[in-house]
Symmetry: C2
Subunit: 186 residues, 2 copies
DNA sequence: CGCGCGATTGAGTAATTTCAAATCTAGTGG
DNA sequence: CCACTAGATTTGAAATTACTCAATCGCGCG
């Protein structure tokens, strides 16, 4: 309960009234492991805030191979942002790796929320900025480090991932085959 | 003159007074081809808006190899965002590929500007969001496409790059050696 | 003309992928 | 407790791909 409030208050304090108004813009949903929140080709009506559980944002290429753009764990915001903001079709899918509870907000409500609470615009700006920075770091690691280095950096940064997802999934995130990943620490 | 105004007005209209106040937060600077706006290890006092010219955001890895995170052309905002927002040392460098004119804004002024014009917060939110989306697309192409595919996508998206930068630079952006790039379309 | 820089080509080497087979592990039902 | 199964992981070997290093080519400029 109130993970969203705790999350927002990491950046700015809220009164009870403010929070309950903000909270009113969101819909709570639960999904089972393996369920899709977004499927490639769908419309993308929501951005999701992960209350509990674990998601993966994936892209299935022409040859059917699955690539993982990111894992979204507790307190993360995730969606196919391009499709969400442009109201287009998803090029990626968002799928549960565990039973997951999320808070959903639609594009209209997102704009209304920002209009009603300018400080939320500030909040989302911080989130977007740190998301952009994180993506840049990822590009940097893809360009500048070997898969083996990326593997140990990932485990250092998110030790819990090792427990929560299979190595095939980690390989799909790192951009190597599972066989190659398996040969790293032998 | 007034590239900044035209750029902001793509997203929201401004009165003359508003623009001249906003403009007052920025400092104009010019750099010669080859000059550094940021060097790895430096403090990063500014975010830069490219008025004219071309920059590259690069990372020099331990082995001395140069990786290009992005090219920043006219109308782009660029800096080492992590270092800028956290007031730390740059892990990347920002270097001119052509004579370049930029508008600079410091972190304090950035906050003051957003405080004085909440609509600028909205503006920067849109920029940060589209930056995040662009980075995600790039990750997707690094994971899902071969260097050869990335090469043709890049040229389709930014045909002018072919005229403006050497193939060695494109190779450093795509993440392959220049020899490999050279063997693609032969 | 000759220099310098970028681009190309060639050959050998290293790394990764692919496909196939073997092994391991957790959960199930007898 | 054991056998069995499905899924994940590991291993092996051949084939592919990209890299490195070196040499060559092409072109603009003093």
């Amino acid at each position: 309960m109130d993970e969203l409030r705790r999350h927002i208050e990491e950046i700015m304090p809220l009164t009870d009234l403010e929070f309950s108004t903000i909270n009113g813009f969101f819909i709570s949903k639960s999904y089972k492991k393996g369920a899709y929140l977004i499927q490639q080709g769908d419309r993308v009506p929501f951005t999701f805030f992960v209350v509990s559980g674990l998601l993966k944002l994936i892209y299935n290429d022409a040859s059917g191979k699955e690539h993982i753009l990111s894992f979204a764990m507790e307190d993360w915001w995730e969606t196919d942002y391009y499709a969400f903001y442009h109201e287009g079709r998803a090029t990626m899918s968002l799928k549960c790796l565990e039973d997951t509870q999320v808070l959903c907000i639609g594009l209209e409500d997102y704009h209304r929320l920002c209009a009603a609470f300018p400080r939320m615009e500030h909040f989302f700006l911080q989130k977007a900025t740190s998301g952009h920075i994180a993506s840049q770091q990822r590009i940097l690691s893809l360009l500048g480090s070997s898969a083996e280095e990326r593997y140990s950096m990932l485990l250092k940064r998110y030790p819990s991932l090792m427990q929560r997802v299979s190595k095939s999934q980690l390989a799909a995130y790192l951009g190597v085959s599972r066989e190659t990943l398996s040969r790293f620490y032998s």
